[in-house]
Amino acid sequence: MSNSQSKNSQKKSKVSRRRFLGDMAGTACGVGLFGLGIGLYSKSANAIKPLAIRPPGALAEEDFLAACTRCGICVRDCPYDILKLAQIGDDVPTGTPYFTARTGPCEMCEDIPCIPNCPTGALDHSLVDINKAKMGVAVVVDQETCIAFLGLRCEVCFNVCPVRGKAITIEPKHNKRSGRHAMFIPVVHSQDCTGCGLCEKACILEDAPAIKVFPEHLAKGDLGHHYRVGWEQEKANGGSLIKAKDKHQYNLPEGVRYDYEGVGLITDEAGNPIIDQSLIKPKQKTELKENKKPVSNNPLDILNQGIKEAE
C-alpha cells in the first residue's frame, strides 16, 4: 500500500512538474511576445523624425533615447515655454522633449536654463556657449518660392538670425531672368548654424517656410572620409602641404622620367614621354630585344596557344 501511495505521489509530482514547466514556457512565450511587440514598435517609434528638433545640448539621438527619462524638467525650465514632451501618437518618441521651430523656435538664451537641471546628462552640461549649440541645421529647402530667389529683397531670415553673418549670409547672384539685377540669396553655413529655428519662424511665406531646420544628419551629406579638401587643409596649415622635396608616388611606366622640381613629365616636343632605356631593368630589355610581345593583340592567338604548341 505504501508502495502504491508513493507511486501515486510520484505520478502527481511528475504531472505537477510538467504543468509547472508548461506554465513557465507559456509565461516566457507571452512575455517574450509582449517584449517583441514593444521592440518592434520602438523600431518605428524611435526612428529619428524630421520633426524632432531637440533642446540645445541634446546628445546624439541614439544616446539621447537611452538617457532621457522624459521628466520634462527642461520643459519646465524654458522661460519661453517652447519645449514640449511628445505624446503617444506624436511623430516623436513618446515623452521626449522637442520643439517645433515654425511655431516656437529656441530663443537661444545666453544662460541656457534648460540644460543645468537635466538630471541624466541627456542634455550635455558641458555646453555653456549657446552659439555652439547644434540643435539642427537650417536649409533653404524651397528655392522656387523663397522670394529672394524670385529676385525680390527679403533677407528676413538673415536679419533675425542670432548668429547673423556667420550662420547665414546673403550672397549676391546675377539675376539671369531680368539680365541686369542682382539677387540677394540667403546661404546657411552649417558650421555656425545652431538650428534655433528663428529663421524658420520668421520666414514670410505662408504656412510652410522656405527655410527649415532639420536634424543635422538629415540636412547634411557625408563626404567620403578619404576626401581631403586641399584648400582648407592649406588654410589650416598656412601654406601648401605639398613640399618640393616630397617624392611623388606616381607609378610611371618603366623608363619614363619625372622631374620633381617643377618641370614634370619629361617629354619630347610632341608631348610623348621619352623612354630612357637605361632605366629599364635588364630582364625586360632582353624581351624587347627579341621583339616578342608578351601578349598578342589577336585574341585567337591566346585561345589557340596550347594547340599550336602541341602541334
Binding site: G35, I38, N46, A66, R70, I88, T94, N117, P119
Partner: protein, 315 residues
C-alpha cells in the same frame, strides 16, 4: 480561499465596531497622498495658468515627474527602474544627478516598504483600484488567470529590451509614466493606454495589471522583500474568518500563510515583498488583527489587547 460571508458592504462590521474613520483611514490617507503628490508637481503650472503675470517660479517644490524630478531645484530624484534600464541600454555617460536621485528614491522605498510606491504614489493605482471596485460592484467574476510571477519576467524583459534596442524602449508604453507625465504635460492618445489598463482589469483579469504584469510593481516588490516597515498580524488568533481582508487585498495570496501560520510557527508578519503597505487590511478587519509595525520584534502587548477585545465582545 475563505469567501466573504455576511456583508455585502466590505468593512461594514469594522465600521460598526471601530467607527468610520478607523475603517477607512489608510485608504483615505493613501488617496490624499496620491493626489497631493500630483498637486505638488502641478503647483507652478496651475499658478501660471491662474495668473500668467505672477512669478510662480518660487513655488517649485518639486519639478519634473515621477521619472525624474528635482525637489526645491536641488535634490534630485530618479526612478531606480529607469536607471536600471539606462544601465542596461549601455549608456555610459549617466550624469551624477540621476545616480544620486535613484539612490535616494531606493533608500526611501527600502525604509517605508517597496510597494509603498504603488499604493501611496503611483497614479495608475487609482485607476486599477477603481476597476477592481467596479468589478466587485458589477459582480464580474472569472476572467483570465495567469501567474503572478509574470511581472518578474516582464521586469527582466524590459531590461533585455533596453539592451537590445539601446534605448528606454519600455518608456514608450509604460502606463505609469505615461499617466503621470500626461497629467502634467498633456495626455492626448495616452488616455487610450490608461483606458486599456482599466478595461483589462475590469473584464480580462482581476487585478490584472498591478498584481500580474507591471514591472515597476515587480521591482518595488523586490525592494519590499527587505523593507523593515511591514503589516503585522500579531493578533491573528483573534481572526474570525470573515474573509474581508482577502477581498480587499490586492495580493490576497500573501495573507493566508501569515494569518493561518500560527501552528506552523510562521512569524506574524506579512513579509512578502508584494504587499503594498496599503493598510486596507488594517482598515477592514473588525477584530484588529493587523497593524503596521517593524518586521523584526514580537509585539505581545498588541496581541493581548486585540484578544482581550474579542473576549469582551463575546462575553
Amino acid at each position: 480561499m475563505v469567501a466573504a460571508k455576511k456583508n455585502e458592504i466590505i468593512g461594514k462590521e469594522a465600521i460598526e465596531k471601530k467607527g468610520w474613520w478607523q475603517s477607512y483611514k489608510w485608504l483615505l490617507l493613501r488617496r490624499l497622498s496620491q493626489i497631493s503628490i500630483l498637486l505638488l508637481f502641478m503647483l507652478v503650472p496651475i499658478c501660471r495658468w491662474l495668473s500668467p503675470e505672477a512669478d510662480c517660479a518660487l513655488g517649485w517644490i518639486i519639478k519634473g515627474n515621477l521619472a525624474s524630478s528635482k525637489v526645491f531645484n536641488t535634490i534630485p530624484l530618479t526612478d531606480p527602474t529607469l536607471l536600471l534600464q539606462m544601465l542596461a541600454s549601455g549608456f555610459s555617460k549617466i550624469a551624477m544627478d540621476a545616480i544620486i536621485g535613484a539612490i535616494i528614491v531606493l533608500v526611501f522605498y527600502f525604509l517605508v516598504g517597496g510597494r509603498v510606491f504603488c499604493s501611496w504614489v503611483c497614479p495608475v493605482n487609482i485607476v486599477t483600484d477603481a476597476a477592481f471596485w467596479l468589478r466587485r460592484k458589477l459582480k464580474l467574476t472569472g476572467g483570465a488567470r495567469f501567474s503572478r510571477s509574470i511581472r518578474y519576467w516582464v521586469l527582466g524583459m524590459i531590461l533585455v529590451l533596453s539592451a537590445v534596442t539601446g534605448s528606454l524602449a519600455y518608456e514608450l508604453i509604460n502606463p505609469v509614466s505615461m499617466l503621470h507625465r500626461g497629467l502634467f504635460f498633456g495626455m492626448s492618445l495616452g488616455w487610450f493606454v490608461i483606458v486599456a489598463v482599466f478595461l483589462f482589469d475590469l473584464f480580462v483579469a482581476k487585478r490584472g495589471w498591478c498584481t500580474h504584469i507591471c514591472p515597476m510593481g515587480a521591482f518595488y516588490s523586490l525592494v519590499g522583500k527587505v523593507s523593515p516597515l511591514k503589516v503585522r498580524a500579531d493578533a491573528r488568533s483573534a481572526c474570525d474568518d470573515c474573509g474581508e481582508c482577502y477581498v480587499v487585498c490586492p495580493e490576497p495570496q500573501i495573507l493566508k500563510p501569515v494569518l493561518k501560520g500560527e501552528e506552523k510557527g510562521i512569524f506574524p508578519v506579512i513579509q512578502a515583498g508584494e504587499c503594498t503597505n496599503c493598510g486596507r487590511c488594517v482598515d477592514v478587519c473588525a477584530e484588529e488583527v493587523f497593524h503596521f509595525g517593524l518586521r523584526y520584534k514580537n509585539n505581545q502587548s498588541k496581541v493581548n489587547k486585540a484578544i482581550g477585545n474579542k473576549h469582551e465582545v463575546i462575553t
